[in-house]
């Protein structure tokens, strides 16, 4: 057996979830994430796990809620319109402080949109998606290897902080094939003394619930939850920096946009333009520190996105609007080319874009 296997991004997520101990998957097919469900359908019955194609996305996320209440690792996956349907369930998971892994392999929107890759669910993912004050840990892979690694990481973080981890990928990441090493460092799962596993007449009942009858108590719950979120912000931010130290121009990009941008950075460097790349791996918590630091020397920032400009707001916030931030984008299922990004770099370098 070779060290690596050749996998699609979607397959890598499914296999990594199984390696991480997930034995419960609930979902509903939708392009471009269907292979996650298809892989689970093939493998789960062979390893004593549960694959269930629910009657809808709403049913699937509520099944996730049920299994999570029992303390078991559980996941669902979908693509943009399906994630919208899951929005209510995401809020209930947060309101009940239940861990779960949710995968969004984004497609063009809004509405039914199209099946080609997109990053236009950034706001939905990083601002919550459902109702109420809450956050999810949002992980943005930029390779098939990271699709696998961040899935394992996502389960660990979800359990540790009793939150939903979302893998925010795009159609390209889901469909592309790359060699993957599945040799992960699997940590023992976090103890879950809160899980509803039966009292055996030895303890008080555990109650999993998102309804609070007393407003003062609900306020306290929200405040405590945000104290936990603060710890996540302090400890769990992940990002990659590429040639940022001496950069006059810094690109912000994640997922497939970061891969395209890296090519453009290399080309621009050949032309003598000092440009670098900050690739957020956690989109929430957003890696503010590297942007703050870069703003001390960089003249300008460019946010490269497959959206009408969503992460750009976080880049502006992270840099306190000290430097101009311009947008380089394609939407509707289109991907910016390295040439388009290079042109944006040259324009900014010439001071042509404000």
């Amino acid at each position: 057996m070779a060290d690596k296997v050749l996998m699609k991004g979607n397959e890598a997520i499914a296999e990594a979830a199984i390696i991480a101990g997930c034995r419960h998957y609930f979902g509903y097919p939708i392009t471009p994430q269907t292979e996650v469900a298809a892989y689970m359908a093939k493998k789960m019955p062979k390893i004593g796990g549960c694959f269930l194609q629910a009657e809808s996305e709403i049913a699937a996320i509520n099944m996730v809620y049920g299994v999570s209440s029992t303390g078991k690792r559980v996941m669902t996956s979908s693509s943009s319109p399906g994630i919208s349907l899951k929005g209510e369930g995401l809020s209930y998971l947060a309101g009940s402080d239940l861990p779960a892994l949710v995968v969004n392999v984004q497609r063009g929107g809004p509405g039914l949109g199209g099946i080609q890759p997109s990053q236009s669910d950034y706001f939905q993912a990083t601002r919550g998606g459902g109702h109420g004050d809450y956050h999810m840990i949002v992980l943005a892979p930029a390779s098939v290897q990271e699709m696998a690694e961040l899935t394992v990481k996502g389960f660990d973080l979800a359990d540790k902080y009793r939150m939903t981890s979302m893998i925010l990928a795009d159609g390209t990441m889901g469909q592309m094939m790359e060699p993957v090493s599945l040799d992960f460092d699997i940590k023992p799962e976090t103890e879950k003394p809160w899980a509803t596993t039966g009292t055996k007449m030895e303890r008080e009942h555990n109650i999993v619930n998102s309804l609070s009858l007393v407003p003062e108590e609900l306020e306290m719950l929200n405040l405590k939850r945000y104290e936990r979120y603060k710890i996540v912000e302090e400890n769990e931010t992940m990002y990659e920096e590429y040639m940022v130290d001496d950069a006059d121009i810094v690109i912000a990009a994640f997922g497939i946009a970061a891969r395209v941008s890296k090519n453009a950075v290399n080309e621009a460097r050949k032309q003598g333009i000092k440009v670098g790349l900050i690739r957020p791996i956690t989109l929430w918590p957003f890696p503010k520190a590297p942007f703050e630091k870069a703003a001390e020397h960089a003249k300008a920032f460019i946010s490269v996105e497959l959206s009408m400009g969503q992460m750009i707001e976080d880049v502006k916030l992270a840099t306190n609007c000290k430097r101009p931030v311009t947008l380089c984008n394609r939407v509707g299922g289109m991907i910016p080319s390295p040439e388009q990004v290079l042109k944006a770099i040259i324009d900014v370098n010439n001071g042509g874009v404000k």
Binding site: V5, T31, A38, G108, G113, G171
Partner: protein, 198 residues
């Protein structure tokens, strides 16, 4: 393969019957086929945003036109092969076909002979046609080395022995062809038609 077949016969078509994955389609190579006068039979909606399991409207030409030599892409698993079932009675009746299973030991669901045979039986069950041969296409994408291919020969032999089917060829990316030529029987050089993503 289609380009090679076109060098041998006049009336050649490629049919994309994959109803599952609308992302990567043979239609991407439409212009290349047109240039070589190779007919492409694929869903009208391939490469569009319409995500429905549609079959090509001219799919019956595959069996109706008996002068036509057709390469069929039926997808990689039993769900993909389901569409083939519609044509199976005619294909079996004419009995002038080869059905090749492309195997890759580096894929997660077919790492050994047992699992590969399992997928083989599923595809045959769904498509209603028995395989006639194997193509050993074991690869790790861009990272494939000659050593990887050599290591895969034992796997291909096991699948061959268990299934009773011959390994018709071992396909490798063209960069590895010279290194492996002479070391592996029936070596086929693959020229990648589509550029990998950045």
């Amino acid at each position: 393969m289609a380009f090679d077949l076109k060098n041998q016969c006049d009336n050649v078509a490629v049919a994309d019957l994959d109803i599952v994955n609308p992302y990567f389609r043979t239609k991407d190579s439409l212009e290349d086929f047109k240039e070589r006068n190779i007919r492409l039979i694929c869903s009208e909606y391939a490469n569009s945003n319409l995500d429905i399991p549609a079959l090509p409207q001219d799919m019956y030409a595959i069996t109706d036109d008996r002068t036509l030599k057709v390469i069929l892409d039926i997808g990689g698993d039993d769900r993909g092969a389901l569409a083939l079932g519609r044509l199976a009675p005619q294909i079996n009746e004419e009995n002038n076909f080869e059905m090749l299973m492309v195997i890759n030991k580096f894929r997660p669901l077919t790492p050994d002979a047992d699992s590969t045979i399992e997928v083989m039986r599923e595809v045959e069950g769904a498509g209603g046609i028995r395989f006639t041969g194997l193509v050993n296409n074991s690869n790790l994408g861009e990272e494939t080395t000659a050593e990887d291919v050599l290591k895969s020969m034992e796997y291909a032999d096991s699948v061959s022995k268990m299934s009773g089917l011959p390994v018709v060829m071992t396909s490798v990316k063209e960069e590895l062809y010279d290194e492996l030529n002479g070391k592996i029987p029936n070596l086929f050089s693959l020229k990648l038609q589509e550029k990998p993503v950045v």
